[in-house]
């Protein structure tokens, strides 16, 4: 619980917090907003009126201080491209769509997160957990593969035959969309 500061103090806080922080200002990219907005699912960034309702609602923001969807949108508008794409910022989101549900502008913040992630992945910024799932998908057609034990049990419990997957078709599709290039870059 916080105690509310009086106005003077809050204003002072602003005055003192004028810093350059760790951000690399020479890298300010005016066209970053344009870049994100023109990605699929990225239009939401233009809707933002910086009201802060998304962050106020975000469960992760209450736990992880640096996760702040509103600020992420702001950073994009400002053009801090490398801050957004190189760091952890896009990867805390749960995709729970609470922000999307609550954003008064119907601004797809949660949706825009996918656009930002897609861009980050192109920059080689991709968490291991996702690489594992993606590689599994490419190789087996599934993000989670059943263990041998599970398949044995399946028979035991009378669940019918094991589900099939056409791995070749999956690979064909993913090669065509260059998915493999994105996920095997690091290794």
């Amino acid at each position: 619980m916080i105690t509310i500061l009086n106005t003077e103090k809050v204003n002072l806080l602003v005055a003192h917090e004028i810093t350059n922080g760790d951000s690399d200002l020479s890298a300010l990219d005016a066209y970053f907003m344009h870049e994100v907005a023109n990605m699929p699912r990225g239009r939401g960034v233009l809707a933002c009126i910086q009201c802060g309702r998304c962050t106020s609602s975000c469960l992760v923001a209450r736990v992880v201080e640096e996760h702040n969807p509103r600020k992420l949108m702001e950073t994009i508008i400002l053009g801090l491209r490398s801050d957004v794409l190189r760091g952890q910022l896009p990867w805390h989101c749960l995709s729970c769509f609470t922000c999307l549900d609550r954003c008064p502008q119907g601004g797809d913040v949660g949706e825009a997160m996918f656009a930002i992630r897609n861009l980050a992945v192109r920059e080689g910024n991709i968490p291991n957990g996702i690489v594992v799932q993606a590689q599994s998908l490419f190789e087996t057609g599934r993000v989670v593969t059943p263990s041998r034990m599970a398949l044995v049990n399946r028979k035991k419990y009378g669940l019918g035959k094991e589900p099939t997957v056409d791995v070749e078709a999956v690979k064909k599709i993913l090669r065509k969309t260059s998915f493999d290039k994105l996920i095997y870059r690091g290794s």
């Binding site: 609470t98 996918f114 993606a134 057609g141 599934r142 993000v143 099939t164 078709a169 999956v170 599709i173």
Partner: protein
């Protein structure tokens, strides 16, 4: 009713008990589940995060398989549901994207035509089978059981946002109440379980799950019921981890909705199914026994 049955990845790998209950209910209610030969992963949000075009193409492939079968898709998982539903909608509405995706699909000899619909288990029961028929099938109602329903984000929100409907959560509530149990109100009912961050940031995932469990516990629920295998996993197994991590114990049994319905329809869980739950559900079974 007849559906193209989309199992997804997680259920066959980890939660055969869920599938088992669904199959039992389906045969009891006269629902025919047809396997989707060769179907791949739905391409959940983790894949969506990597690349948009790959997501749409993979999901569309599954839709095409159902189209060729001439059936609507029945999914059991919120993530599969969200991915397939969104893809189906985008491709039906947006010709430009559809053409691009079809270009990719042409390589595997498929074309998206927009002739199938995507349903999740609870919606199928509510919309296609009907609440009345479900109610009539109840033989051993769970009278007095206080249930915290966890609808799961990907069941309710995309639907609400993109289709102006807020029925999905309500439908699940009504179905739960049809079993005689009471669907109670609790804080952050609409909130996320934390599951999506599994493998990316486990600690945050646990924090989120904890917020959810706090709400459920405060409201005094007997158990949690969900349709989503991810929510199930996070809330069930998550309790053990929270116990380790935060030294906090909730002891809240988590049930698949299909299990709850199946028991209410008078079909007992088998031993291996009871044991599949990390938080023992014997409490719930006892309530049932004593009735």
């Amino acid at each position: 009713m007849k559906y193209a049955f989309f199992l997804g990845c997680l259920i066959p790998a980890r939660e055969p008990n869920y599938e088992h209950s669904v199959r039992k209910i389906a045969s009891e209610l006269g629902i025919e589940l047809v396997e989707m030969e060769g179907a791949n992963c739905c391409a959940p949000f983790s894949i969506q995060s990597v690349d948009y075009a790959s997501w749409l193409a993979l999901a569309a492939r599954n839709l095409c398989i159902a189209e060729e079968m001439g059936l609507d898709i029945l999914t059991l998982c919120n993530d599969c549901y969200e991915s397939l539903l969104m893809t189906n909608t985008i491709l039906k509405e947006d010709k430009e994207t559809r053409d691009k995706v079809n270009e990719v699909l042409a390589d595997v000899g498929l074309e998206f035509k927009g002739k199938t619909n995507v349903k999740i288990f609870s919606d199928a029961l509510y919309e296609d089978i009907g609440l009345e028929k479900v109610k009539n099938a109840i033989k051993e109602p769970f009278n007095g059981l206080r249930v915290a329903v966890q609808p799961g984000c990907h069941l309710t929100k995309p639907k609400r946002i993109h289709f102006e409907e807020i029925v999905a959560a309500a439908a699940l509530d009504e179905l739960v109440e049809a079993t005689g149990a009471e669907s109670i109100a609790y804080e952050r009912k609409e909130a996320c379980c934390g599951g999506p961050l599994r493998g990316i940031n486990d600690e945050v995932a646990l924090h989120v799950a904890k917020q959810k469990l706090d709400g459920v516990k405060t409201a005094g629920a007997d158990c949690i019921v969900t349709v989503c295998p991810f929510c199930y996993n996070e809330l069930d197994m998550g309790q053990l981890e929270i116990k380790r991590h935060f030294k906090q114990e909730y002891d809240l049994p988590v049930l698949h909705f299909a299990e709850l319905l199946r028991m209410a329809m008078g079909m007992k869980l088998e031993d291996w199914e009871v044991k599949a739950h990390r938080i023992p559900i014997t409490k719930i079974l006892n309530i049932k026994e004593t009735k």
